[in-house]
Symmetry: C2
Subunit: 418 residues, 2 copies
């Protein structure tokens, strides 16, 4: 049942300073020839598992004064090397130049303070920065990560402030007849206190899952830092998986590697309403498991892109549940959705009821170059027609994590003030 | 304080099917020329952030019948491409061959069922498999991951069984005068039950931190699967950070990117005894925060390499604390340690007292090709001399995660049976 691996040729292993010392003392004893032989055999065969790791001399990325950033990659044989990132200065990419040691480098212009993702491309093969241990996944791509400081990026970085806990937990969904995964941030002091906390439900987009707001959205750091500065109330942040046909993020389901990450709109259950109509399952689970202030005035729901669409319809269908609603670049082009199904039909009536029952904040943000800019303008007109109150924020740029992190920085300080 | 990014050229963005539809309807309206112009400008400049992601047609890795594994990489310009992994069949590496489409491939021999790490090398540049979204970090290197089944690998994979929760939490250390991070696995049903649980403290090696046993050690899956089969008692597994000079794993401290991962033996506090002597801080925190069975008969401590060294001296210095001790390839070459300091001195006396006070299991395992094989034989002689009872397991291979995961599979079913 629990297998052992088959026997193989003995190989000596040198991997810590004391081991080198040990091997020297061994040279004097009777095992000398056997060790020398197997050492020679093992050269080039396989190092012990990453033991003896030492970081190389190449520093990349290097954030300079003024938030210019220098990238370096050793690739002596390569013909053409570029770096590509999600900044706009330099068009987000740069052709690197090679020095006499085969090290390619490129320095950006000054970058606004933010969290950035990037990859290298060597002779048309994309790769991460091998000298940067920090990586995030976005849908099915991996990216190297860095921060620039003196601005938003400071909120996305770890500071010396009290840290909340981050938990991956499973809840049982009667609607989907399975267990499903969520990520939950509890604020610093949660476990020691007897206090009950308000809850922000924070929903991912169609490229995401219950990991996205943590890795790409920097939620634990944003919350730690805003709470430490007194800018946001201590709150629980619940990040559920919003793909009805998936229990959890790629790699966290029984499909293992066979679950190749895709966009939600290629999955069953996409914008079919079951997630929105069953959201009370999640709220009930959270209210049972955590010390929450289980009432409308202490609940918020917000999401990006598809999660903005979800937030709109979750709140519209549950007018007694949330006093704070946030739509970040919401994916609300209703022309592509079956608006006759129960979750989405009679929207004007639902909004009228939501307005009548009241709420504290209906916050909407979008970038001026976002392809979803126009649908949000259409939605604003519908709200205006209903005299439905909202706060609207326009930012630069498009459908990007830089905007969603920034919206979260703006949104959370407005929550639970009453 | 919370900055906005500077305004930039408007760029239209097409990233979901409904957006393509939207853009077509737009072609008929007055914005036609402006959109066409900016669309042309944006071509090749920067895609919207990973939206519209579709997995490519290349499948890699592909686990075949008989656990042979095929790797594929598109690199049409490359001269020489290899794959290198932590298996022994094929020497752990293979030269890949290119087909007419510029796709390089290599198929291993049949691999024992396990979790494997690998990288590609393209013209002397190391990279992850760009078609594999699953990655782990070991010290400062990233590796792509896969599983082979019908054996140990089944325990390292996600199965359709109840899942425990995994939490990253911070505790306050009076000894180190700071907050420190730990990862905690609570078994399925923990939150719903009123039961108290036994606790396994599981310690990392000198290449690791509080993430290592989760990512490289597959602890949540091993525990879920063993518990589901009734092979292990439901238990809490606590994985603290064992580097006294570091609060947390790389990227989780205020040093952010400046904390380049290194081996523990290059950090202050390495084998200076403060961690071992202050371990009660961690136990007290866990007993306070979690529903534990706070007694010796329901506590275990185990660790790999440096963590095995830690486990030896934590248990020897706290003879009333643990009934189960596990030393996995322990880093116990005492010649390289200052054995006169309080944590490490009088070892024979401490072991004699530990034996007198009693325990259920003292488990030791090592690979026959591990550089730490001989020091463990020396330690066994000392234990024999004291008539100190232990269970000793020898495996093939060396100082590798394959062994540590396998030892955990063997060790946990022996715990808390009384």
């Amino acid at each position: 049942m629990i297998n052992e691996l088959p026997p193989k040729l003995l190989k000596p292993t040198f991997f810590e300073p004391q081991m080198a010392f040990l091997s020297l003392t061994k040279l004097m004893n009777k095992k000398f020839l056997a060790i020398l032989f197997t050492a020679l055999v093992s050269i080039g065969a396989r190092a012990q598992q990453n033991t003896g790791f030492r970081p190389g001399s190449i520093i990349s990325p290097q954030v300079n004064e003024g938030n210019t950033v220098t990238f370096r990659l050793k690739a002596p044989v390569a013909k053409f090397v570029t770096v590509k990132g999600d900044w706009e200065a330099d068009g987000g990419k740069g052709a690197m130049t090679k020095d006499a040691n085969g090290v390619w480098s490129f320095t950006t212009g000054g970058l606004p303070s933010d969290m950035y993702l990037y990859t290298f491309n060597v002779d048309s093969v994309q790769l991460l920065d091998p000298t940067n241990a920090f990586v995030v996944r976005d849908v099915g791509n991996l990216f190297s990560v860095f921060f620039t400081n003196k601005g938003n990026g400071d909120y996305y970085s770890v500071k010396e402030v009290p840290h909340g806990s981050v938990s991956r937990s499973w809840y049982t969904s009667a609607t989907f007849n399975t267990s499903r995964r969520m990520t939950v941030y509890t604020p610093p002091g949660y476990e020691e206190s007897k206090t009950s906390y308000p809850v922000l439900y924070l929903l991912h987009g169609s490229g995401g899952d219950e990991e996205a707001w943590v890795s790409l959205g920097a939620v634990p750091r944003i919350m730690d830092n805003l709470i430490a500065e007194g800018k946001a109330e201590p709150m629980i942040v619940v990040m559920p998986n919003g793909n009805p046909s998936k229990q959890a993020a790629p790699g966290e389901t029984k499909e293992n590697l066979a679950y190749r990450p895709v966009m939600s709109n290629t999955l069953p259950g996409y914008k079919e309403g079951s997630y929105e109509l069953s959201f009370k399952e999640i709220v009930d689970f959270v209210d049972k498991r955590y010390r929450t202030q289980a009432k409308k005035s202490k609940r918020a729901v917000a999401g990006l892109s598809m999660g903005g669409f979800h937030s709109l319809f979750i709140s519209a269908n549950h007018p007694d549940m949330f006093d704070y609603i946030g739509l970040f670049s919401p994916g609300i082009n209703f022309k592509t959705v079956n608006m006759t199904i129960p979750a989405y039909n009679n929207l004007e009536e639902k909004l009228a009821l939501q307005m009548k029952k009241g709420f504290q904040l209906y916050w909407m943000g979008v970038g001026t170059t976002d392809g979803l800019y126009d649908p949000l303008q259409d939605y604003k007109k519908r709200l205006d027609h209903l005299r439905f109150p909202y706060k609207y924020v326009e930012s630069t740029r498009g459908h990007i994590w830089s905007n969603w992190r920034s919206y979260l920085l703006q949104f959370t300080p407005l929550l639970f003030k009453k």
